[in-house]
Symmetry: C2
Subunit: 188 residues, 2 copies
C-alpha cells in the first residue's frame, strides 16, 4: 500500500463500484500473475461486502482467480485509458502485461494478487460463492480489504459501452437533502 492511500471500511466500497466503472482485475497463482479489464460487475451486499462479476471462461485470469480463490479489483481513472485499452486487447498467456504496460504494483495485505499503484482504489477480494461460475462465469467475491486514494475525492472514471467507446463520469450532483435518513449511508 502506498502512503497516498488509506484503508476504507469494506462496507463503504459501494461508493466506488456502484457507479459502474471499468475495472482492472489482478490475480496471482503458483508463480503466475495477470491483469484483465472487467466491466460486468455489481454490488450485492454491504456486510459482508459482496461484489458479483463475470470473468469469461476463456481468460487466463479466470484460471488464476478460480485456482487461487482471490483477486484484486483496481479502479483506474481516465488518465489510464491507454493502459486499460491495451490490457483489454492482450492476453496474459502471450505477454507479461505488468512489464509491457509499465504497471507499478504494491503488495496486498490479505491476498497474493498485486495492487495497481496508479489506480485510485484497490479492493482485495476472496471468492465468497461460486455457485454460478460453471453456468454463467459469475463469481461472488467478498471484499476483505480496501485501499483508496486520499485525493482527488471524485476522480474521473471510465465506463465502457462496447465498440471501443467509453463514457467518462466525474461531475457530481448531490441530492442528499432530499433523502430519507434511513436511505443514506449504508441503508438502501
Amino acid at each position: 500500500m502506498t502512503a497516498a492511500k488509506i484503508d476504507l471500511p469494506v462496507h463503504r466500497i459501494r461508493a466506488y463500484m456502484e457507479p459502474g466503472p471499468i475495472v482492472l482485475v489482478t490475480s496471482a497463482h503458483d508463480g503466475e500473475r495477470n491483469v484483465m479489464t472487467m466491466g460486468w460487475h455489481l454490488v450485492m451486499e454491504f456486510s459482508p461486502s459482496l461484489i458479483g462479476c463475470v470473468i469469461a471462461g476463456g481468460n487466463h485470469s479466470f484460471d488464476l482467480v478460480r485456482a487461487s480463490g482471490e483477486c484484486v479489483i483496481n479502479i483506474p481513472t481516465v488518465s489510464m485509458v491507454d493502459a486499460v485499452v491495451g490490457i483489454g486487447n492482450s492476453s496474459g498467456r502471450d505477454v507479461d502485461k505488468f512489464a509491457h504496460f509499465g504497471l507499478a504494483t504494491d503488495r496486498a495485505v490479505e491476498v497474493a494478487a498485486p495492487l495497481l499503484r496508479d489506480c485510485h482504489a484497490n479492493l482485495e477480494c476472496r471468492i465468497f460463492d461460486d455457485a454460478l461460475v460453471d453456468r454463467y462465469n459469475f463469481f461472488i467475491l467478498e471484499v476483505v480489504r480496501a485501499h483508496v486514494a486520499r485525493t482527488p475525492k471524485n476522480p474521473e472514471t471510465l465506463h465502457y459501452t462496447g465498440d471501443g467507446v467509453f463514457v467518462r463520469a466525474g461531475r457530481t450532483i448531490s441530492r442528499r437533502a432530499d433523502f430519507r435518513p434511513a436511505l443514506l449511508g449504508n441503508g438502501r
Copy 2:
C-alpha cells in the same frame, strides 16, 4: 412505444447497461404496479441477453417482480434526477408513484409492466433464473425487447455513489482504432 423510440436488437443493450447507470424498474401484477430505483445490476451475457440485479426483499417491487416474473428496466437521463430521488425515497405501498411523480407511461410489447416514456431506453425483461433470489435477492433477467430513443446518441446518465450523491456520465472517449476486431461489437 413512442414514435421517438426504435427497437434495438436485445444483444446490443450492453451499450446502455454496462456503463452502470441508475435505472428505474417498473413492475405490474394482479392490478398493482410500481416503480423503484436500482443501482445494483450487471450485464451477464449477450445472447440470450442477460442482466443480473439485486432487488431488496423488503421492497414492494420485489413481490411484484417475483409474482409476475417480469419487469421493465428504464434508463433515465440527468434531467430526471428529481423523479429518480423521489422514487427512491418513497414506497409503492404508500403512494401511487406514477401519479405522484407525473410519470408518463406506454404499453410494453412483451410484458405487463409499463414503459416510462421519458426514459431514454426501456428494456422489457422476464426472469431467466431465480437460483440466487432466496439467498441474495439476485435475479437473472432476460431482456426480451428493447426500445431506445433515437436522439441524443449519448445522453447524460446518473450513476449512484450512495449518500445522496450521483456522478454524471456523458462525454465519450473512443479508442476504437486500438481494439482487436474480435473484441469489438459483441465480442469480449
